[in-house]
């Protein structure tokens, strides 16, 4: 039997799908709806000190659309919860009592003073919540007041606040990291060193969704002015995966539990984040775009895929892709591939040809015997994957490895042995090959 149950730093949930701290988890009503729909857990929208912050009354969101107005990227300038602390605490307590099997983590953001943290931690602990997540990530608004990303961008502050929390609560502490930083490993190291139980990432990325060319103001704008927001949604997934991989394979943070966040929209995205070491995943934009029901396909899809692969528990595949992430210099330069076109699937749109012809290696011809016909010229193809990327028909274009003979492009015999840049003759700093 495939088992989706998750135990993340002692926080148990029936599946690894949590809703991230965001508008969908702002109050009891939404969270109960989410649990009814099947979400394994939530990170309650960030609590702060009273009096509550205020939000703008203008628009909070902006979007980047793909074909058919599918939301590819999403931007927001909403702040932390704008409801009184006590109201949130009462609702959290009630929901946790009524939904004991679900993970309920509370996101927190108070000023960088130990007293502030000492005051709020017992209040949260009293709700029976499973853990806390330190919001060191919000890039807009709160960061101007010395909180959110303003903390997350300074590893020393990350460590300092994490330490206060570890010293003042028995609850597991998850540190949420901002991607608005040069090297995400530094705050992760600081969190680990301070004793944090886990990190979660990524928070949103500084962004302006667009410019309204009629008003010449950013989108979204309040009364003709806009400010940068936090970018999320499918567009940020590759950035999140990369940052997670950095932490997962860094010798100093290796093994630090990770809750993966960033554009996760379906079970496949989730599985990818987990393969890079995420014990749970957090979702927001997809739920905001389609509602809570998407979790049904997430759980069923993940279960079916695990069944196909013979994985019975999440731990069977969490982190399994981490060893495959390496530095460029260690990639096998003797690995030779050529693009292939499945002529039965080809619809003859010519996109591969023009992409290669105009912008790459002139390796795809467009006619054969006077007919429209696309074919790869192995003597020019460098195996770059551009054609595969632009082909509209999935599976029509693939890369095939050459294992014998010579590479028709270079004329050099295919070397079956692994060899990388570190020993390449063109590398002035090469070391002698073994």
């Amino acid at each position: 039997m495939t088992d989706l149950r998750s135990d993340f730093v002692g926080i148990k949930s029936p599946n690894p799908f949590w809703l991230a701290s965001a508008p969908p988890t702002d109050k009891e009503y939404n969270v109960v709806r989410a649990f009814k729909a099947g979400w394994g857990g939530v990170v309650w929208k960030t609590l702060g000190e009273d009096p509550p912050i205020v939000n703008v009354n203008g628009p909070r969101y902006g979007a980047i659309h793909g074909p058919d107005r599918r939301m590819l990227g999403f931007n927001n300038i909403e702040l932390i919860t704008d409801r009184p602390l006590d109201l949130n605490l009462r609702e959290i307590k009630k929901v946790k009592r009524e939904w004991p099997d679900r993970a309920l983590v509370v996101s927190l953001m108070v000023p960088c003073e130990e007293g502030a943290w000492k005051r709020i931690l017992p209040l949260v602990e009293d709700t029976g919540a499973d853990g806390i997540e330190l919001n060191f990530g919000c890039p807009h608004g709160m960061s101007e007041r010395g909180m959110g990303a303003a903390v997350g961008q300074v590893p020393e502050y990350v460590g300092m606040v994490a330490r206060w929390c570890k010293q003042n609560t028995r609850m597991p502490v998850i540190v949420k990291l901002t991607p608005n930083i040069t090297d995400v490993r530094n705050p992760a190291r600081a969190a680990k060193e301070a004793g944090a139980d886990a990190v979660s990432l990524i928070n949103t990325i500084n962004s302006i969704a667009g410019i309204d060319l009629d008003t010449m103001a950013p989108d979204p704008a309040t009364d003709g002015k806009g400010t940068h927001g936090g970018y999320c949604g499918p567009a940020v997934k590759p950035i999140a995966l990369s940052m997670i991989s950095e932490i997962a394979r860094d010798p100093e943070t290796q093994g630090l539990p990770i809750s993966g966040i960033g554009g996760i929209s379906n079970w496949r995205d989730a599985a990818e984040f987990m393969a890079l070491g995420s014990g749970t995943v957090q979702v927001c934009t997809a739920a905001m775009a389609y509602g809570f029901r998407i979790v049904e396909d997430m759980t069923e899809g993940l279960k079916n895929w695990m069944g196909e692969k013979g994985y019975t528990r999440l731990d069977d595949f969490v982190g399994k892709a981490v060893p495959s992430v390496t530095d460029w210099q260690y990639l096998n330069l003797n690995y030779i591939v050529k693009a292939r076109i499945d002529q039965d699937l080809c619809i003859k749109c010519g996109r591969c040809h023009i992409a290669c012809e105009d912008t790459s290696h002139q390796a795809i011809t467009q006619t054969k015997d006077g007919q429209r016909y696309f074919e790869v010229d192995d003597t020019e193809c460098v195996g770059c994957n551009l054609c595969v990327s632009v082909c509209p028909v999935e599976g029509c274009m693939t890369l095939e490895r050459l294992t014998e003979g010579a590479d028709p492009r270079t004329g050099k015999p295919i070397d079956p042995d692994y060899a990388n840049w570190t020993t390449h003759p063109n590398n002035p700093n090469r070391v002698a090959a073994e």
Binding site: P67, D68, R69, I347, K348, C349, G350, R351, H353, I354, Q366, R372, P392, V393
Partner: protein
């Protein structure tokens, strides 16, 4: 049999007044902005796209669809009209299912092509609503060209010549310009006087004078035109509907489909048109479908379209055949008219002989007959070219298969005479092909005219 008994029933106003408007509403209502954007997103922006290849006028289809999708519909319209000045009408009447949309890669991929015709309509509607002139004229060449026929070929040719700086006079036998766009298109394909709006847009460029009510052969002679102008373009279309070759074709109620469609298009009040209760249409092309469907829409009870060959041989596209059938037209294949049955000088029925394809695909009668009652019989078995005043003896243009012989650029056997559209041999009898003929001929004429006097340009000064 129905040839006896009930009285012949031809009447106008068969339908409640409101019904006419509903029946003759736009066959393909225009796409609004949202559906247009959704549809535009489906285009893959193919390289060297098959749809462009399939378009007789070479419209850069992927580019205009991309322009729609980026919110630049005026740019899209410009892309279309640069190649096809009648892109608006072609968006309405082109059999896209056998041209651009047939070869769309999404037809290959999913059996569902991008709705190119509808997108073209969307873009051109935006331009026509605005009325912006997107063409400018080259400096005057001093050359004068006569264009005979203000149909798609003639107007296309005139427009391109005017763009290139020539001065054009267009002659047409009828009252209004537009040719078949005005007089021959099914009413539900071109609403709100679009043919005239389009013609007006074309003429608004300047440099084109239209003279109506002048027919070549009676009011004009080719010889005279050649004397008065530097070059002549013939875009006269086809003259007359083929006869059935039966006795009794002069019976009342045996009607040329083309004439009736023309009357329909010019009718201010559709309820005033006489319509038979039982109608038989003979033919298998677009005109046959058009008259059959419109008869039905005008209130005919029974409309039977009879074609002597099979479904595959019909010139009407699959879409048109489906349209006829969903409109309630009965299509009978493999039967040819054998005898018209009259009564008191009017048609009452028509007898058919069943046919089959014999050796080498030759059609042969089987001897078996049947009779259809008919208050009206429409002849729609193709039109023929009437070379009035063009092909008389050695001074005229050479004909080929009964139409004007031209080369790839539209040049006739006479050095200063070009031709295009339905009147030339080897044509496709399509609006879009006629537009292309006119355009190609104009470009060819321009080259020839400039070769005559390369220094006539006003720009050269000195």
């Amino acid at each position: 049999m129905g040839t006896s008994g009930a009285k012949r029933d031809v009447a106008s106003g068969r339908l409640p007044a409101r019904q006419y408007e509903e029946n003759f509403a736009d066959l393909h209502p225009p796409l609004g902005r949202h559906p247009a954007m959704v549809e535009a997103d489906r285009c893959y922006f193919c390289h060297d796209a098959p749809c462009v290849e399939a378009c007789p006028t070479d419209i850069d289809i992927p580019m205009f669809i991309r322009q729609i999708s980026t919110g630049n519909p005026m740019g899209a319209a410009e892309t279309i009209l640069k190649q096809n000045i009648m892109g608006g009408m072609c968006a309405r009447v082109c059999p896209t299912e056998t041209l651009c949309e047939e070869v769309c890669v999404r037809e290959t991929a999913e059996g569902k092509p991008v709705k190119i015709g509808m997108l073209q309509r969307h873009a051109t509607d935006v331009l026509f609503a605005d009325g912006k002139q997107i063409f400018t004229r080259a400096p005057a060449s001093g050359k004068r060209v006569a264009v005979v026929g203000a149909g798609p070929a003639g107007l296309s040719c005139a427009h391109r010549l005017a763009v290139l700086g020539h001065s054009v006079t267009v002659f047409d036998a009828r009252e209004k310009p537009g040719g078949l766009n005005e007089y021959g298109i099914a009413a539900y394909k071109s609403l709100e006087d679009f043919a005239q709006h389009e013609a007006a847009y074309i003429l608004s460029l300047g440099g084109i004078e239209v003279v109506t009510g002048k027919r070549l052969g009676s009011d004009l002679s080719l010889e005279r035109l050649r004397g008065d102008y530097d070059a002549v373009f013939l875009g006269v279309g086809l003259g007359t509907v083929r006869d059935l070759g039966l006795e009794g074709e002069d019976l009342e109620g045996v009607i040329d489909a083309v004439d009736y469609i023309s009357d329909l298009r010019q009718a201010g009040d559709l309820s005033s048109l006489p319509v038979g209760r039982e109608v038989v249409v003979i033919g298998g092309g677009m005109t046959a479908i058009d008259i059959a469907v419109q008869s039905k829409l005008l209130g005919a009870e029974e409309v039977t379209l009879v074609y002597r060959r099979g479904q595959e041989q019909m010139n009407a596209s699959g879409f048109e055949q489906d349209l006829a059938q969903t409109s309630g037209v009965k299509i009978t294949h493999f039967a040819q008219p054998a005898r018209l049955i009259g009564e008191d000088g009017a048609v009452r029925g028509i007898e058919f002989e069943r046919t089959r394809l014999g050796g080498h695909g030759r059609l042969e009668g089987t001897g078996e007959t049947f009779t259809l009652a008919a208050d009206v019989v429409f002849k729609a078995i193709g039109q023929i070219f009437v070379p009035g005043g063009m092909a008389n003896g050695g001074d005229g243009v050479r004909l080929e298969d009964g139409r004007i012989a031209v080369d790839g650029e539209g040049r006739t056997s006479l050095g200063d005479v070009w031709a295009g559209g339905d009147c030339v041999a080897g044509g496709q009898d399509l609006t879009v092909a006629a537009v292309q003929d006119g355009k190609a001929a104009a470009i060819s004429m321009d080259r020839a005219l400039r070769a005559q006097s390369p220094t006539r340009s006003r720009d050269t000064g000195g």
